[in-house]
Amino acid sequence: MAGKSIFDKIWELHTLYEREDGETLIYIDRHLTHEVTSFMAFEGLREKNRRVRRPDLTFAVIDHNVPTTDRLKPIRDESSAKQIAALEKNARDFGLTLFDLYSPYQGIVHVIGPELGLTIPGITLVCGDSHTSTHGALGALALGIGTSEGEHVLATQTLWLRKPKKMLISLEGKLSENVTAKDVILWVIRNIGTGGGIGHIIEYDGPVVREMHVEERMTLCNMAIEGGARTAIISPDEKVFDYVKGRPYAPSDDEWGQALEYWRSIVSDLDAEYHKIVRFHLDKLEPQVTWGTNPAMTVGVTEEVPGPREFDDPEEKQAIERALNYMGLQPGIKITDIDVDVVFIGSCTNGRLTDLVDAARVVLGRRVAHNVRAIVVPGSQLVKRSAERLGLHRIFIDAGFEWRNPGCSMCIAMNEDRLRPGERCASTSNRNFENRQGPGGRTHLVSPIMAAAAAVYGRFIDVRELDLPSREEVLEHARAY
């Protein structure tokens, strides 16, 4: 009999009932929720006089709407304030733990889940947000869901699902200096396409994954949805167990042995079977930059912006033309000749401490170009405080970056942080869709190192050519600052 993948094992352990047509009732161990997608779910409960079945497994946080400027000032946007107030009331009425605007644990839902130890290996986790796949980096089966499904989980702590197919993406070789998880995931999406993962759960493995820090694996899992996948997952290893240990909600010391035993039992078997296996050799991978209006429209930093002539399919030609037009780019121009107006470092993709340290490696001893507006938005209060304790914030502030409070910020532009029409942004976020960072805004998705370099040079450069201090060296500098 063939072996099982981590996904098979978690799925089986959480299956309560399976209909003959494959619809399966799955128990949900963790439900994270935020102010934007939860309102109608709570309204639905009220209408039917239902309660939240397991308030102790349900956690709420305010992240999408929050201003990243002074938290003590009232929120200017009336509808944002109303949406935030609604979640505060719902958390109160239904007895949920809420990390509100003033909580020392507030932050982007996909940053705080892992860092608080709410996300642990082997659990099922859902959140009304497509980037929930992030939590798969710890070996959790993490699904982004809609509001109706959210209401169903609130009421029953379960979800009806149809088992997705399994795609193994093996990341092989060794990454070049200053090439990061973000470049890897952009390369993967560029190759499988925006719909390549539809109906599938992606499992990442291979030497490149094993080499990565857990936070870098989160970047990898975070953007699986941009390749259409239902979610992504990575079998946990010692790095993950070390990461989880000691976090506020993590298993206690007494429970640790039992937890480890379970976590070691759910990793993928060597002979696990997959519907699809894709291998990428990454020795020669260069930093990646999106040029268009979906994350598959990506090229390497030494390449040129493609043109419609390179494509045969008339619809593809049309899509390329439309994207070039929106982005204000000519076919054939070099990526390194593109100037940027704004740099955004943050988001659930790249707003963690490792990302900020990486960006600081470039920023240390340099200055933001005079015509560039650059902001750093740490992913959470904990990330922000850790960075400040290490002295990293001074590196950014001295170089001319704005150092903000945590939230989704310019990744989704629901607060005041947004591009003006026509502005071009090097962004560490996850979506370069039309108008995503503000009406008429033009987004290029890149890694934190590439974004920091764009801030300094005012354009994209090949960061492999920079001689940068190591992470340890930059932290040493920061401490001595």
């Binding site: 128990y27 079945r53 109303k82 947000d129 499904e149 937890a259 979906n294 629901m414």
Partner: protein
Amino acid sequence: MLEPIRIIYGKAAPLKLENVDTDQIIPAEFLKILGKKGLGGYCFYRWRYNEDGSLREDFVLNNPRYRDASIIIAGKNFGIGSSRENAVWALQDFGIKCIIAPSFGDIFYVNSMKNMLLCIKLPEEQVKILQELAEKEDLILRIDLEENTIKFKNRILGFEIDRVVRERFLQGLDEIEITLKHIDKIKKYEESMPSFMIPNPRRFIPD
């Protein structure tokens, strides 16, 4: 609970674009609206309106011929991206009852089903034929969920659909009600849950 639907009858509009993401169906700034009513006004907002609020002539759904369309025939990967269910609510409030495309974003597909916005997957060639027909002349479709057929002019197209989607449309069930029939299984799982799986605030700030 939603009313059962067996027949969808309406005019089809061709939206010849691939990878239509939910950010385009409803931009993030309108996700702050609490509730579903009126979201149709913001459906495809940046594609429908110029900055001064006038209608954009280059957007197919603004064409007077398609103003009364209730079926969209779209390119592949419709509804990819953000999980926002508001995209479904906006389409419905805008008057859309069915989307036909070669493929859909997974989360959008499930969200649509839960709200009884019908998503039909058809092979790309068939979708293209329907798009061309809808461009040439008024294309009125009669979609029958009991027969799994799309009828127009003198033609019939069959389509496949998950049994659970079909049941939902034909019976209009309250899913939570159905799930709670399995309450004994839910309780049994909860009783066997080891304590380390349950999050307790055991420590304060990590080192």
